[in-house]
Symmetry: C2
Subunit: 342 residues, 2 copies
DNA sequence: CCTTGGCACTCGAAAGTTCCGAGTGCCAGT
DNA sequence: ACTGGCACTCGGAACTTTCGAGTGCCAAGG
């Protein structure tokens, strides 16, 4: 029983590997030819029947070979494969490609491109989430006597800008005063905590100025919440969809549609995990019915201990999981490193 | 001769319209049935033969109907059709959809979405080019004693940021001094002219400070040129590619690939024209061999007199030109208006 | 001279047919 | 427990047939 079980798993592994390579149903004969399992096709057939019984493989039609089911891929990913590590050359390519980035946006853009290129799948990268970021600096610029530009700079280098209009001319001195006060109150504060800190600010000013101050404070608060809530996403490698196979309407269209809906992508990527853990969602396991032939490989990135955001790829269920997972993990690690350095 | 010519053009128009609607070759009989040209199929056949002779239509194979050639579409667009104006409801939808935008990036994002939605094609919007924009404000923020953040704010609300490292601790007073000097020198200057203005700045400071000042100035100049040269682009509606028809490899793949290459998109969109003029590039007319079955409808947007940037759509040659052109033109106008107001 | 009805012809697409062999399940033998 | 053998299945490739929309051309008519 022990030995048989082992062999059955070998057979499943072989089926998955061959099917991923050929995209064609795998028969017992072909299997024995290509892998040297030391048994005859007839034996393999028995194992296959058992595997089918257990729900790991299926026949597209009678008298055809077998293909893995989602459960089959699941077992393969969990038990039968090891994440492939990248070659030295690939690692080098990654670092050199990411090293050229000039700012945060550029890091993300490059990461998407890179990920799409090495996995040859559609890549998705969530911009680092700013929930944990803090206020670095607040600037108030007078654009015209009645028009102010608020600039919020966060600890991880993002900038949010807002315009405030005021019915009367604004006193420069008041602005300077407000600027320094805001900065002393807010500097270093988490965006999420800033609301409470700002509460008392208007009272510090002369009653005549309070209307203006209050409107600036309100706008600033809006900027905070917008920034916290914003979940930007970059997508790349859509051209790789053409490799999905032929059933266009069923495979490609839903993915293209999902790519436009960032809310959907966020749900697909799922919660950010730390870069050690890879999330793999296979076929029907993902939360969208239309994407039942699609798998997602994702992981968090950011600091070692906690993830800032998620990145990953979307591809057909019959993808090469070991390589893809290796690439996703590697890219996540390198990006984390780049972000930590800067 | 006069009359004949007119009818031939009618026939061509009818063929284009029907083919766009059905995507199937059009025969003489069907034409006569659907449009009431007051002549018999036989006559139409003669005209068709002539049109084919002149290169406006072609037969996919003997004993099939005719389809327009690129030249046919060209003639149709230039002479046989009028740009369709949008319905009141559509116009309303556009304004209300664009009105909600909070900043420049948001305007662009919304525009792409909108354009993709109403044309049901792939939409492309170039971010407003900043070549003509000027410096509104420069801010220098001390992040740590040896680390400075430069923030450049331009007249049309874009923000560019750069980090400058310095081997020694930086004097706050010097920074304040430099900040005000830079602003007085640069405020209102065109980005393109700023280079010359900055030349003399380091000399204004004590020799010991010049190294720092020079490095800040250099970084700033880099930011200027980056900002001027940057040609960002937003893309949307890729899911509409699924409506291209079946020849996937030939029609969809090249477009998807082009969408990832912003340099290519820029060339596709072409030079910005003013919002009055629509550029239509049909099939082989565009500069990429692989996109020979693809047309581009684009126009400039920005102020009335001069275009800031270009927007447009990409779709199959057999698109509904009058509607598409109408939509592109309308969106360009409304966006221009929004930008002018803010 | 343009238009039209008539007619023979063409040829792609759809539907039908045949054929082949990879693949299967099962069973008896080792 | 494994294997060789065997009868059976059935999808896909290849070929054939059929069908009809569409064509070009011509002679007759306004």
């Amino acid at each position: 029983m022990r030995v048989l079980d082992d062999r059955k798993l070998d057979v499943l592994r072989a089926i998955v590997e061959d099917y991923v390579a050929t995209h064609e149903p795998i028969g017992s004969k072909a299997l024995v030819d290509r892998h040297n399992l030391g048994v005859s096709p007839a034996t393999v057939r028995n194992d296959m029947a058992a595997l089918e019984e257990e729900g790991y493989i299926t026949q597209p039609h009678t008298s055809a070979g077998r293909i893995p089911t989602d459960a089959g891929y699941r077992l393969f990913v969990d038990k039968l494969s090891t994440v492939k590590t990248l070659s030295v050359a690939e690692k080098k390519a990654i670092t050199s490609f990411l090293a050229g980035a000039v700012d945060l946006d550029d890091v993300v853009r490059r990461t998407v491109r890179l990920l799409a290129q090495i996995t040859r799948q559609v890549a998705i990268v969530q911009y680092p989430s700013l929930n944990r970021s803090s206020v670095r600096h607040i600037e108030i610029v007078t654009m015209s006597p009645r028009r102010l530009l608020l600039v919020l700079i966060t600890s991880n280098g993002r900038v949010e800008q807002r315009i405030v209009e005021h019915p009367h001319d604004v006193d420069e001195q008041l602005i300077a005063d407000l600027r320094s006060r805001l900065n002393s109150v807010l500097a270093g504060q988490r965006l999420t905590d800033a609301t409470t800190s700002l509460g008392g600010v208007p009272e510090l000013f002369a009653p005549g100025d309070r209307a203006l101050v209050a409107s600036i404070v309100t706008t600033l608060l809006e900027a905070f919440t917008d920034e916290v809530g914003e979940q930007r996403i970059a997508v790349g490698g859509a051209a790789n969809l053409t490799r999905y196979g032929d059933d266009f309407e069923r495979n490609v269209k839903p993915v293209l549609e999902a790519l436009e809906e960032h809310v959907i992508l966020l749900r697909l990527l799922g919660e950010a995990t730390n870069p050690q853990t890879l999330t793999v969602r296979i076929g029907h396991e993902n939360p969208f019915e239309e994407l039942a032939t699609t798998s997602v490989v994702a992981t968090g990135y950011g600091s070692k201990s906690e993830a800032l955001a998620t990145l990953g790829i979307v591809g057909p269920t019959h993808m090469d999981y070991p390589s893809t997972m290796g690439a996703v993990r590697a890219v996540a690690r390198y990006v984390s490193q780049i972000l930590a350095d800067s």
